[in-house]
């Protein structure tokens, strides 16, 4: 409500940014740098599911994802995943649960399934 809008960096996007050999790395890096500029101007907050970010970096803030805050997953979120309509893919479901709980409206992703939801999906070039 009082915070700048949150942009959730989804797992596929995080991996694309982190891995220079990834097929979507260039698009992801360009989009990420644009998001970082918006973050620095206090226009948005960058967030990621803590387990997804934890696959790539440690808890310190001395890495490429230094501006990204973690959305910590608790047992109640896992329970919500099991009760969700997308429970067959827990990683996808946990992202949706955390997006819903934290009122996220924009997701940075290369996973096309997010286009099925009322979310703004970036990179914008993906739908051009």
């Amino acid at each position: 409500m009082m915070d700048p809008p949150k942009v959730l960096l989804e797992r596929s996007f995080l991996h694309a940014v982190a891995d220079s050999a990834h097929v979507n790395h260039e698009a992801a890096a360009a989009e990420f740098l644009d998001l970082v500029t918006q973050y620095e101007a206090q226009e948005i907050l960058l967030v990621a599911v803590h387990t997804h970010l934890g696959e790539l970096v440690g808890l310190d803030r001395k890495h490429v994802f230094a501006p990204v805050d973690r959305l910590w997953v608790g047992r109640q979120h896992h329970r919500a995943v099991r009760r969700s309509r997308v429970a067959d893919d827990p990683e996808f479901a946990i992202t949706l649960v955390m997006a819903e709980r934290h009122r996220v409206r924009t997701v940075a992703t290369f996973d096309p399934r997010f286009h099925d939801y009322e979310l703004t999906v970036v990179p914008a070039a993906a739908i051009d």
Partner: protein, 350 residues
Amino acid sequence: MSTTAEAPTFVDPSTRPGFGKGLSLTLRSVVPEDDFRLVRLALMFEFLFVYLWWLRVQGLPIDRISVAISVALFLLCAFVGKTWRTWGILLLDCAFYCVMWLAYERTRGAADDGVSVFGLFQIPKQLQVESVRNIDRALFFGHDPNAVLQDTFWERTVRWYDVGASTTYMTHFVLPIVVMAVLWAISHRQWVRFMKRFSTLLALACLMFVILPTVPPWMATSPKYGYQLFGELHRDAGRGFRHIGFYGFDSDYKVQLSNGNAYAALPSLHSSFALIVPAFFLPWIRPKWLKALVLLFPVMMLTSLVYLGEHWVIDGLVGWAITGGAFWFWNLMERRTRARRSNRARQALS
């Protein structure tokens, strides 16, 4: 950095079934809602009703213990059903909150005994009495603002402006605490931002209370204390509040922790707290007239304090200055933190 995780490759969304046909799903339609959200809302409304009832029947909780209990009860309502991690963070926050207020209360002893600097030497207690009065007189061309306001407006009977001044004065015990509690409930990030500024101004104020213990105007004019710088001022900050049927509530606990430091006039925390709240919310207020209106509140507070004989004008001005200083410092720090984190991201990708 490399990854072995299976990352989906890009699929043009326009090729997906339903794209562009308005078939987007809401998150709520696939994800169950937080079961406790409505429970929390109901409990918080219930708390509000009980608080208002208590205010009407028992009075406004003003001592530290009563305020702490009311904040704790509100937080219980606001955090029901949240994750254990969130509760853990809340406990740490509460510990910080308690330490901050205990440190504030402890300055009374330090102010009474003088200050020992690393055990090397002692700064004796040097009460400021005439210095602050002289500054006020210099600011108001030889007049004492406290005396002028009371001579002009104070009457035997309670007037409408007494109610206004007294109510404004009493908001000091509620407003910052309500803001903290609400921020705690709605945005931990904003709570942290508020508390950084609040605790900084409180620390600066405590330091000044110890180094420059200052006699307030009511004491400086009371025959009881022997200063009598000018004609005795009336001192009854609560009379307007009582006139409309409200009272301050002090718990009966033997130890209330409210060891108010009578020499803590400079800076005025009433003025500081009255400024920190509107100043914090200013960025969210769009219309300029509304910004100006909310900034009238600290002016109203300082005028009330001077009229009620509680503070010198300079106390309020210094209170505003340290509030401004706390904002300046933390705005700078937060900007630097964002810049440092952003640069790390840029460097890692360059």
